[in-house]
Symmetry: C3
Subunit: 263 residues, 3 copies
């Protein structure tokens, strides 16, 4: 923090267990990664190589090495896991994770219809190898999963050994947790939170209005995911009440009253 300002919420510090910012890299070059780290490394907790972009990315090992040397864990997007699984190549996938020296992996069923027991089996097996992020929610906007089912899936997957569960939103933020307009499924999120600990969930929230909504509901240290590289600094200001949208949120009552601000 460059300046001293009162009434700014305290952020957790790295390595964070909550207050995580998960960034989506959908095809950065090595120099672009360096640029991102140069300006926002302190605010990046973990990086996802979006869906199966790693399949067509040159210098993949070098890219991963850059993140590693900055102490930032990297993992392959869930669609790559699914691509291997539907082709009966799960064992190849496990070898791949070791070959690239990864310490995290995602298990998801956003593009396939996977029975929950089978998904949990994959989680169990992978959890012995790496930390598992397990994603709930479909990439298909016509497939609406009711809240009780989200809760049941999240609980089962955490129990199977997932380090965190992720609420699906895609790169665009218009499925899963959100309506096709990008609006939050508010009732869904609130119901999930009655049963699943907030700290165990990473909410994919690529759009600004979505990030603002979660910070207002759950505070500066909510876990947020699918953040674009050039939105890391902006998100950090939202978390700290230093952007218009959350400007009044962390101010004390006296200040708010004096300036006629509503939270």
């Amino acid at each position: 923090m460059n300046f001293k300002l009162s009434q700014v919420p305290e952020r957790t510090s790295k390595p964070r267990q909550f207050g995580l910012t998960m960034v989506m890299d959908k095809g950065l070059s090595i120099r672009q990664i360096e640029d991102m780290l140069d300006i926002s490394a302190p605010h990046i907790d973990i990086v996802k190589l979006g869906w199966a972009t790693s399949f067509v990315t040159p210098n993949l090992k070098d890219k991963i090495a850059v993140y590693k040397s900055a102490g930032i864990p990297v993992y392959f997007g869930g669609t790559l896991f699914e691509a291997f699984v539907v082709r009966n190549q799960f064992e190849d996938y496990r070898r791949l994770i070791d070959e690239y020296g990864l310490e995290y992996a995602e298990v998801s069923d956003g593009s396939v219809d996977m029975p929950e027991e089978i998904k949990c089996d994959f989680i169990k097996v992978l959890a012995e190898q790496v930390k598992v992020l397990s994603e709930v929610g479909s990439k298909d906007e016509t497939k609406i999963i009711p809240p009780y089912k989200w809760i049941q899936l999240m609980k089962a997957e955490l129990e199977a050994g997932a380090w965190k569960v992720i609420g699906e939103a895609r790169e665009s933020g218009n499925v899963g947790l959100f309506r096709s307009s990008g609006e939050v499924r508010q009732g869904l999120v609130e119901e999930i939170l009655t049963q699943v600990p907030n700290k165990d969930i990473i909410w994919e929230a690529p759009q600004k209005a979505q990030q603002v909504w979660f910070v207002k509901l759950l505070g500066a240290n909510v876990n947020l995911g699918n953040i674009a590289p050039n939105e890391i600094i902006p998100l950090e200001t939202i978390r700290l009440g230093l952007r218009g949208d959350t400007f009044a949120h962390f101010l004390n009552d006296k200040t708010r009253k004096r300036w006629k601000l509503t939270k």
Copy 2:
């Protein structure tokens, strides 16, 4: 200009007093700034470090030094000013400006309810220290300020010592001068222009259609702000009638008639 083309409007040249392009940096790394300058320095007049992004930006002094060595003035976004003011830290803010060697500052009330006399007092004080950009318009899309009030505020703030007044639009271009759809509040702009000199106003216009609208109304040398780094070159072509949207605008009658073009 790389090629010789007739019927291209003349642009003012740097250091410009009008025809300004104000760019928003919302978290560029030093190398990203160098890249931006490499391709568009001649078209950048002034850079705003968006809202309070400067609070969480590492190497802030180095960033500012890069802009300075390119002869481009930098200032902190108005939200940072407001963040200091609501916390009763205005004197800290003044010291900050000097500490970072800045020559411009923004005074705004986009996130707070500030009586006009108080805002003008801030302008007066800061105008003795730096050149002041004073922003009119709320970041709250439900807060509609009527045209006569915009005019009154702009006049008072220029009189208080502001170098330019800025018409608010945010990074997204959907408040203040614009409807939530991004459409220009046309009547508002026209009414303002009956009373406030165009050259004293910087119109925030982050969206292409907004830039086109202002260039068509006010010509190649209108002052435009909140331009994203990768939109500086595209904006310059809009100003010169070299993009589809303004293609016919600066052609002479003979040419337009020959090619059946409407302005």
Copy 3:
């Protein structure tokens, strides 16, 4: 390709005659070009310097040299051609192409009303100098060209010597082939394909949903254009069935049945 996966469609390889990805550079710096090439050179077939951005781009010769040394052809956007033509400077334009050592040129009438015979004459003349990309479709969203006319124009322009014809969409993807919402004019595309060979057409498709639609209709090796630099890697995954949207498209029946996937 970094990993071995079954059931991935075969891509053509460079230098490609079809399966082309045409990228739009609307003002990249030299280092930004290097970054783009570093991560996606194998997936870039040809680069357009968008509309008349080349007019205001510093170091234009150096930029072109970077592309050339990577073996990637570059051409000026059609709006620059039109800007020269309406000013009676076509001969200047021809000299320019040679001066910059270009081997491709675009002929378009997106911003002017040009009789078809005249457009074909321009194509004929330029085709003796370079490979010509000829664009069909207006940049004006109120100007709807009926399908039979698209077909007639495309045929005539290929006959006049165009190497490929381009279906217009602009940078934004909301005119020409698309409705103002960005939705594909499906009937138009299907009717065109009954008369014009697919391999002779480059479909401008800047939006993801548009790219998905064309890949599903025409396969991995459809020619697509106006791809933004940071969408090259994502597009390649769409082509290969490795993004959610085309995940099931290239899988065999057995796999799809097993996982209850619809194409």
